[in-house]
Symmetry: C4
Subunit: 203 residues, 4 copies
C-alpha cells in the first residue's frame, strides 16, 4: 500500500512539468519564458502541495499498525486527488491571467480538489479514533482525537479558500502560500536530533 | 516481478489524468469544466478499475509461493492491458457523448480491454489449479478451483458487458459501476482485525 | 541500481500508450480504431521488447556479485535505449503504412535502437569475462564466455534486421517477431520447479 | 525519502523522450529524423545530467546517518529541479537552432536550472559541516568541508556556464559536455574491487 502510494505521488509530482509548454508565438524567447510565470507558480504550488501530502502520508502510516476498510478507502481517495492534481494545476496556470470569473473558477476548482483530499484525512483519522487499536504501540488514543480535529481544520480551511478564490483569487492564493510555508517550514527547518526518528527517515 | 507490476499499475493510474484537457473554446471556463463530465467519469471508472486490479494482484501473489511459466505470461498480459487502459479510457471519454454507434463502439472497446485482462486471471488460476504446489502452505488446493470459477465469471461478465455496451452503452456502464462498487466495497468497508494480514498490508 | 533500472523500465513500458491517438477525422469510430493497427502492433512489439530486456536484466544481475565501471556504463546505455524506445515506436507506428523509403527508414531506426541496446550487453558480459570475480559464487567463469557470445549474436542479429528493414520492412518485422517469441516462450512456458529461484522471483 | 527521490529521478529521466516529436512536414522521413539532432543532443545531455545527479544523490545519502531540516529542504530543491528539467531540455532542443539571442536564452535557462540544483548541494553539505554528527560513523568531519567546497565549485561553474551560454551557447554546451564526461568517467570507468561498496551497489 505504501510503496504504491509513494509511486503515485512521485509520478504525479513529476508529471506536473509536462503541462508547461511554450505558446506558439513569434515573440522573443525570453519574453515567452517570462510570460509563463503563472505556470511556474502553479508548478511550485502543486509541487509543494504534493510534498506536504507526502509528508502527511508518511507521518500517518508511521503511527499506524493495521489497515482496515475505511483507511483503504481514505487512502485511495487521497491518491485519486493527487493523481488528478496536474489537471487543476494546468487549468489554474492557463486561466489565472484571464482575470474575472475565469480566474475565480480556476482557483476554486484547484482548492476544491485540495479540499476533497483533506477530507480523506478526516475520514482516516476518524476511523482511527473509533478503533485506537489501529495505532502502533506507544501512541496514545488521544493522538487520533487531536489529529482528527487538525484534519477537520485543514478541510474547512481549504474549502473556505476555494470559496474565497471564486471571488478574490489572489487573496486565496496568497493565503494558501502562507499556510503551506507555515505548515512545512517548522516541520523542515528545525534540526532533528532524536536519533531513532532521523535514522528511520534516512533509510 | 511484484515491484515491477506495482510500478506499472502506479504509473498507469497516474497517466489517466494527462488525457483530460480543456477544449479550444471561447466558452466560459465553468461551462468548459462542467462539459468535461464524461472525462471525469472515465477517470473515476479507470481509477477504480486499476485499483481493483491492484487489489486482485496483491491477493493473488499473497497466496502464491512459486511463479511458473503460465503465471509469468498471465501477469504480463495483465500489465499489457493495464498499461493500455488509458487509451480506451480517452476514447470512451471523447465519444460517449457522440451517441449512436460511436458511443457503442467506444464502450465495447473499453470493456473488451477489461475482459482480456480478466481472461489473464483465468489463465493464471487454471495454472495454479493444475499445479497446487504453487500455493503457499496453508492454502488448500480447493482455493484454486473456486478462484478459477470466480475469474471465469468475471471474464464472461465483462465480455457480456462489452457486447451489451455495443448496443446500449448506458446500460453497460451502469451495470459495470454497480459491479465494481459491489466488488470493492465488501473488500474495503469491513474492518479487518486479523492481525497478521493487516500487519503485512501496513508495511 | 536495480530499483532505479526497474523504475525506468516500468515507466517506459507504460509511456508507450500515450503515443496512441485517434486521428482528427470524420470517420466512423470503429474504422478509426481499426485503422490504428500499426500502433497496436508497435505497442505490442515494444511491450514485448522491454519485457525481454527486463528479463535479461534480472537474469544478469541475479548472477552478478559486484558492479564495476564498465557494468555501470553498460547498464546506463541499456536504460538510455529503453527510455528512448517510445520515440522509434511512434515513428514506426506512424510511418509503416507510408510504404516505400519511409517505412524502411522507420524500421531501420527502430532496430538500430534495439541493436545499440544489445551492444550494451556485449560490453557488460565482456567486462565479466575479463574479471570473473564479478560473478556470484557458484557460477563458473565459462558462463561469461557463453553469454558474451550470445549477446554478440543478439547484437549482430538486430543490426542485420535493421539493415534488412531498410529495404524490406515486413521481412524484418516478421523475423523479429518470430525471434522474440522464440526467445521469450521457452523462458516462460516451461514450469519452473527449482524452488530457490522461483522463491526469489515471487518475492 | 530515498525511494521517493529515486522514483522522481527515474520518472524525470524517462519523461525526457516524450518531448521528442516529428514535425508536421512533407519531407522525407530520414531528413526529418536527422533534423531532430538538437533533440537527440538535449536528450543525451539531460539523461547524463540526471544520471550524474542520481550518482551524487546516492553517494551523499550513503554517507549520511540522519536527516535534519536543511537536508530535507535541500533534497526537495534537488527534486524540484530534476522534475523541472524536461522543460528547459525541450526549450533548448527547439531553440538552439534559432541561433542569436533565442539560442542564448535557451542555453542560459537550461544551465540556470542546473545551477539552482547544484546550489542545493551547497546547502546540504553546509548543513552537514555545521553538524558532523549527521555523518555515518567512519566518515571524518573533514569530508563535509571538502564536499561543501566541491559543491560550491560546481554551483559557480554552472552559473558561469549559464552566463557564458547567454552569449556563446556553443561554448557553454561544449564546456559542459567535457565537464560531465570528465566527472562521470573517472567515477565509472575505474574497476572497483573494494568489496563492501560494490556489494552494496549491486543489491
Amino acid at each position: 500500500m505504501e510503496a504504491f502510494s509513494d509511486g503515485v505521488m512521485a509520478i504525479a509530482i513529476t508529471l506536473l512539468v509536462i503541462e508547461i509548454r511554450l505558446p506558439e508565438s513569434q515573440d522573443d524567447l525570453l519574453k515567452q519564458l517570462l510570460g509563463l510565470w503563472p505556470s511556474y507558480l502553479a508548478y511550485l504550488g502543486s509541487f509543494a502541495t504534493i510534498g506536504v501530502i507526502w509528508l502527511t502520508h508518511h507521518a500517518f502510516f508511521a503511527r499506524i499498525r493495521q489497515v482496515n476498510g475505511p483507511l483503504q478507502v481514505g487512502n485511495l481517495l487521497v491518491l485519486l486527488c493527487v493523481a488528478f492534481l496536474p489537471f487543476p494545476t494546468t487549468v489554474l496556470a492557463h486561466h489565472l491571467e484571464d482575470g474575472g470569473r475565469n480566474a475565480g473558477v480556476a482557483t476554486a476548482f484547484y482548492f476544491l480538489t485540495a479540499a476533497v483530499q483533506a477530507g480523506a484525512w478526516v475520514v482516516m483519522w476518524s476511523a482511527v479514533r473509533r478503533d485506537p487499536t489501529l495505532l502502533r504501540p506507544g501512541y496514545p488514543a488521544t493522538v487520533a482525537r487531536t489529529e482528527t480535529r487538525q484534519a477537520a481544520i485543514g478541510f474547512v480551511a481549504l474549502a473556505a479558500i476555494a470559496v474565497i478564490g471564486l471571488f478574490v483569487p489572489i487573496a486565496a492564493l496568497t493565503f494558501y502560500l502562507v499556510a503551506v510555508v507555515g505548515y512545512a517550514l517548522p516541520a523542515m527547518a528545525w534540526p532533528r536530533h532524536t536519533r531513532s526518528r532521523a535514522g528511520r527517515a534516512s533509510d
